[in-house]
């Protein structure tokens, strides 16, 4: 046993003559076949193991260059072994090695860094654009929910408590103009902003992930979640409108709201995109359609989380530090313009070029 291992080791060593590999002739042809190729198999095994461990730096150039050759050798060995050998353990081992090598070669990922680069330079924008219809639906639902919230509260202020749910908030129907104005300007102390921003981000990101994940149930819960959040927005707008603070509250909301609401709309659209693919898969079959939509939606969701980081920072810092409505509106509008440009203008050229090329 031990000298057999030594022989394999000798075979693995560079420049060792091939004859050394033939240890002792086995009596069967299929076992001799195996003995002749075993060294290469083991070498591939060792390379694949190092790839699996992520120690690609410790592979020599020689090993990397030979990897495809060894893999092709293994593939042909396996085909031959299946047809000529009844040694079950060997065939199973070869199958397992082929599977592992295949993961490393065809799983040849560009790496997370590479993926992230592609994501920022157009991948994200393309994914957003590819769900155009869902985006319009989600946006429509958001607007409709806001109007609905406003109308409900205008019709019967009792609804305000039902929609907002927050007990102990000074922002209730019947509150004076000064009180409401106080919540928009200056009242918040300007300390603890970092913690506040982090809290906001965590909360909103979890909501948006929920929004996306619920799309799985044909998108219906996603729509409900969107309507609920938009309803709150509508009710709040109505409250401040009643005291003539419309523009101020819009400024207060918009500085982070353009980013945050855009992100929530995107999350809703991503959820709907999946829901729609599950409900109406078309000719591809439900499984394939769901998988395709899911991957596209996942790209959008990574972006949503990043947008919510930005929104959390804007809400936590910028809103508290900028106390002037016009400047708040400028920042909010600027962010909205940036996102629109990035999503709908950026990354187009590349696609066109590819199509013509």
């Amino acid at each position: 046993m031990t000298d057999w291992i030594d022989a394999v080791k000798a075979r693995l060593g560079r420049g060792a003559p091939a004859e050394e590999g033939a240890i002792r002739a086995a009596s069967l042809r299929s076992d001799r076949f195996r003995q002749e190729r075993e060294g290469d198999w083991k070498r591939l095994d060792a390379i694949v193991l190092r790839l699996e461990q992520g120690r690609i730096g410790r592979l020599s150039d020689e090993d990397l260059l030979e990897l495809p050759v060894l893999y092709r050798g293994l593939v042909s060995s396996l085909s031959i072994a299946r047809e000529t050998s009844l040694d079950m353990a060997t065939v199973q081992w070869l199958e397992a090695l082929a599977q592992r090598a295949w993961f490393q070669l065809h799983g040849a990922r560009q790496g997370f860094g590479g993926w992230l680069k592609g994501f920022f330079t157009g991948g994200w924008s393309r994914a957003v654009r590819s769900m155009g219809l869902d985006l319009w639906i989600a946006f429509g639902v958001l607007v409709a929910g806001t109007v609905l919230g406003w109308l409900l509260v205008a019709h019967d202020p009792q609804w305000y408590g039902a929609l907002m749910g927050g007990a102990g908030d000074v922002r209730v129907p019947g509150a004076s103009r000064e009180v409401l104005r106080g919540t928009l300007f200056g009242a918040q102390d300007q300390n603890g902003l970092g913690a506040f921003a982090a809290y906001l981000f965590g909360h909103n990101a979890q909501i948006s992930i929920l929004c996306f994940a619920l799309g799985f149930a044909f998108g219906v819960p996603t729509l409900m979640l969107l309507v609920q959040n938009a309803g709150m927005l509508g009710a709040m707008l109505w409250l401040f409108h009643g005291q003539g603070l419309t523009l101020d509250v819009v400024g207060w909301l918009s500085i982070h709201g353009t980013t945050e609401l855009f992100a929530i709309t995107l999350a809703g659209a991503a959820g709907l995109h999946i829901g729609r693919a599950v409900a109406f898969p078309g000719r591809r079959g439900a499984m394939a359609a769901a998988a395709e939509a899911g991957c596209r939606a996942a790209v959008v969701m990574v972006g949503v989380v990043l947008m919510l980081v930005v929104a959390g920072l804007l809400e936590g810092f910028a809103r508290q530090l900028i106390q002037d409505t016009m400047r708040r509106l400028t920042v909010g509008g600027g962010m909205l313009g940036f996102w629109l440009l990035y999503f709908f203008a950026y990354g187009r050229q590349r696609l066109v070029k590819k199509r013509h090329g």
Partner: protein
């Protein structure tokens, strides 16, 4: 080779671009639950470690409310720690599975321990968006119903039933489809497969030079009693080399072919010789295109 596992409902085959059939075995549901539990435990431990580290740095987190609104340097440090805590919590909850499954092994620590990994269902590359999609759904599968359940237990209202039903709906999802996909797998186009890893066993007919050639020669009629299925069962027995098993097998073979049953030290060489000669005969037939699946073939 006769596919002995052809009846295994967990077996799937994938055809690679080279035209090679690569067999996969889907992970059993038990190992997936086990992997999940290990991962949840690891997440809990890292969360606790992070909490201990942060509160140690903060000096025991007293009066955090006061510090969160203060303006002194100490308060600012406290706020930064609070922000760090929220971000660490978010990352552990959402990025744990993704970060590990994006690695070259395609497996979280729990999956690694139980020797399973994720793979793309259609044989395509396992892209980051697939990993992300499959793990974003974990939120509604596990974390949301569990937090609902915990809060309803705390408050004693009736949402507990809703949360339980919700949890079961997703937990039982893999029972109701052929490929054992959970909701996240369905969305992402992935599945969970076993990651076989055992060393290459020795070649069966490799003889050391000192061993004398076995004296047993079997006639064609003796070898015709069995087929490939029996040969591979015999291979398993010979690789394990347990005396009681070998005694049973040798008796069965000798009864079938009408030889005297060898005893004691004779058993091993007899079985080795029978194995080698049966395999030689069957493999010879294979080269000619004649296969004999089992003793009835």
């Amino acid at each position: 080779m006769v596919d002995l596992r052809r009846d295994d409902p967990r077996r799937r085959t994938l055809i690679t671009p080279e035209g090679l059939m690569v067999p996969f075995t889907l992970a059993s549901r038990g190992s997936r639950v086990g992997a999940l539990l290990i991962d949840l435990l690891c997440m809990l431990i890292s969360l606790i470690l992070a909490a201990v580290a942060i509160s140690y740095t903060a000096g025991g987190l007293r009066d955090i409310d006061r510090h969160l609104h203060g303006a002194s340097a100490q308060d600012h440090a406290m706020q930064a720690l609070f922000a760090l805590w929220i971000i660490v919590g978010f990352l552990i909850r959402n990025a744990w599975f993704m970060a590990f499954e994006l690695g070259p092994r395609g497996a979280t620590p729990g999956k690694r321990l139980l020797r399973i990994r994720i793979a793309a269902r259609d044989g395509a590359r396992l892209t980051p968006e697939r990993v992300i999609a499959r793990n974003l759904l974990r939120d509604i599968e596990i974390f949301l119903p569990l937090t609902m359940l915990a809060s309803s237990m705390g408050e004693g209202d009736s949402t507990g039933w809703l949360a339980t039903g919700w949890f079961l709906l997703f937990a039982l999802f893999p029972l109701f489809n052929r490929d054992r996909l959970r909701a996240g797998d369905l969305i992402a186009g992935t599945w969970v497969v076993e990651r076989p890893r055992k060393p290459l066993a020795r070649a069966m007919t490799e003889q050391s030079a000192e061993t004398p050639q076995a004296a047993y020669r079997f006639r064609d009629a003796d070898l015709a009693a069995y087929g490939e299925y029996e040969l591979q069962r015999l291979e398993e027995v010979l690789r394990l080399r347990k005396p009681d098993q070998m005694a049973l097998v040798v008796t069965a073979i000798c009864e079938k072919i009408g030889w005297h049953v060898p005893h004691g030290p004779e058993v091993g060489p007899f079985l080795d010789a029978y194995y080698a000669q049966l395999r030689e005969k069957l493999e010879g037939g294979m080269r000619m295109g004649r296969r004999k699946a089992d003793k009835h073939g």
